[in-house]
């Protein structure tokens, strides 16, 4: 091959291999995504969250759980000494706690996405594709789950299984999938009778093959968008559970629990509750911006 830049190779209208076609497609999507600066900000925030979670031990200057001298180091305001964001009532460095708390936040986000998305996709596409009684049964089950308010079900769940971040995640995941199932079902209904699905049937493809290979890829993008946009809500629910004392347990540095603990000192030591609140705000905003950007790129209906 003569001098062909990587960019030209990727944007080639005549890809010569499967890999080049797939990468080229991904690169085009990336180019569109990149032109949306708000989405790039969102992506930056989410990437920063991931990096902070991975390198929490390196970034955090103090131990997040064990505090300093209770006589001298309690309620230090931000920018005192090397306590960037100050310290709390147990003389723990708030910055270190927020940095370590990002691990819990990321865990919630990832686990909920990993549990809820496949369930939603599977139930939704199956229901939409087969229709009839399969649809009725699956959708009524979805309705039942949809009927519970998320926080209340999570409360009941945690009450039954005992408090803890794991149970909170399970509770959130169980209440999160029904909207994805509905979305996937609606998408499936619009493509179920399209000619390319008929064509696949005429090739003798089995239902499983059509569902997995033809229907799911088309539902995936809208579900991913929805999941990303929901992430902010999921983080807030997890924080809410933490705030109510039903999520992460002390001394775990969960952001919601930190706000709950700082609430008592809000008037005099405002930073104790405010700093984790800002962290929640920034990360939620990041996911929302990312979701909006993904929608512009992936959702064919939103495109002009």
């Amino acid at each position: 091959m003569t001098a062909m830049t990587r960019r030209e190779w990727l944007l080639s209208e005549r890809p010569a291999s499967r890999r080049q076609a797939r990468l080229g497609q991904a690169y085009r999507t990336w180019l569109t995504f990149r032109s949306n600066w708000l989405a790039m900000v969102g992506l930056g925030i989410v990437l920063a969250l991931i990096l902070v979670a991975i390198f929490a031990d390196v970034i955090a200057p103090y131990n997040p759980v064990i505090g300093g001298d209770l006589r001298t180091a309690r309620f230090l305001p931000p920018l005192t000494g090397d306590h960037l964001l100050g310290t709390d009532d147990l003389a723990r460095d708030i910055f270190s706690r927020i940095v370590h708390g990002s691990r819990l936040t990321l865990m919630v986000v990832v686990l909920v996405a990993v549990i809820a998305t496949p369930i939603g996709l599977l139930v939704g596409t199956t229901s939409g594709y087969f229709g009839g009684w399969v649809d009725t049964v699956l959708m009524r089950i979805t309705d039942i789950f949809l009927a519970f308010p998320r926080l209340i079900l999570a409360l009941a769940f945690v009450a039954a299984l005992g408090p803890g971040i794991e149970n909170a995640i399970i509770a959130i995941a169980i209440t999160s999938w029904p909207p994805y199932a509905r979305l996937a079902r609606a998408e499936t209904l619009t493509i179920r009778d399209s000619d390319y699905i008929n064509a696949a049937r005429l090739q003798g493809a089995s239902s499983a093959r059509i569902l997995w290979g033809h229907v799911t890829p088309l539902c995936l993008s809208s579900v991913i968008i929805r999941v990303t946009l929901d992430m902010a809500g999921i983080i807030l629910t997890a924080a809410g559970l933490g705030f109510l004392g039903l999520g992460a347990q002390p001394p775990q540095p969960e952001w919601g629990a930190m706000i709950a603990a700082g609430r008592r000192f809000l008037i005099d030591q405002w930073w104790v509750a405010t700093m984790p609140g800002i962290a929640i705000f920034i990360v939620s905003l990041g996911f929302n911006l990312l979701g909006d950007g993904l929608r512009d790129v992936l959702d064919p209906k939103a495109r002009k």
């Binding site: 076609a21 000619d195 064509a199 049937r201 033809h214 088309l218």
Partner: protein, 256 residues
């Protein structure tokens, strides 16, 4: 006329949705000989496309029988049925999966039916429809309408069927592209001795492509004609005559 390849005997198709029943096809019979090209002409709502869909199992056969090579078809169709009968759809913009490359479109049927020498077959199929290997790893949105329809033809041919069902294969295409696709279909039939069953609203296209045709209206077969009879405008029924005159273009007013 040689041995019968595909025949329908008093075919009925009724759709039920809610309380409504729609009798889309109400007793249609025809027989297509091996190697013949047979046309079904009609306007929208005549049930012409439903006949094709009933043959390949996409629409329910309410009554009557469809036989392939003398054997009545069972419902659902066995996988081997699709080795013998394939279909080309009307709209090439709707019949290709938007996220699948041409390579994937063509390799999937081969994988389903366990064909060997897949690479060779894909290359050959693309060459057969005049596209060449250059197109193999492109996505449908990178192709024009005519190129997409060529891919759809390649997909139908890759399983080496004996019967090709053509559902208005050129009505979504420009006139110049239509000519190319019709020529392609014509050449492939000559080369492989395929049997065609073609549905169209365009009398001229059917006259060009088919040896015999049946005119359908409101789910019924109105009239069966040979190409020669059609060319000479020897139609028996008023409806066919009306279709013929409308196909000639605009006439200021009815002479009668």
């Amino acid at each position: 006329m040689g041995a019968v390849m595909l025949d329908a005997d008093d075919l009925h198709v009724t759709f039920r949705s809610g309380g409504d029943t729609v009798k889309a096809v109400r007793g249609v019979s025809f027989a297509v000989a091996r190697g013949e090209s047979f046309g079904i002409v009609g306007e929208s709502g005549s049930g012409k496309s439903t006949v094709l869909r009933a043959i390949c199992g996409l629409a329910p056969t309410t009554a009557g029988t469809i036989r392939l090579d003398g054997t009545p078809l069972t419902d659902p169709r066995p996988a081997s049925f699709y080795r013998h009968v394939q279909m080309v759809f009307q709209d090439p913009y709707a019949s290709l999966h938007p996220r699948h490359t041409i390579d994937k479109v063509l390799s999937e049927p081969l994988a389903i039916h366990g064909f060997d020498r897949r690479e060779e077959r894909i290359e050959a199929a693309l060459n057969d429809v005049g596209l060449g290997g250059d197109f193999r790893f492109r996505y449908p949105h990178q192709l024009s309408g005519g190129q997409r329809q060529r891919v759809a033809v390649a997909r139908a041919l890759i399983l080496e069927p004996e019967v090709l069902l053509l559902d208005e294969p050129t009505s979504a295409l420009d006139a110049s592209i239509q000519a190319e696709v019709l020529n392609l279909l014509d050449r492939i039939r000559a080369e492989r001795g395929l049997t065609y069953l073609m549905v169209s609203h365009d009398l001229a296209v059917v006259a060009h492509m088919c040896d015999r045709l049946v005119v359908m209206q409101h789910g019924l077969a109105v009239e069966e004609l040979t190409r020669e009879a059609l060319a000479a405008h020897r139609a028996e029924t008023d409806y066919t005559r009306k279709l013929l005159s409308a196909s000639e273009g605009y006439t200021p007013a009815e002479a009668s």
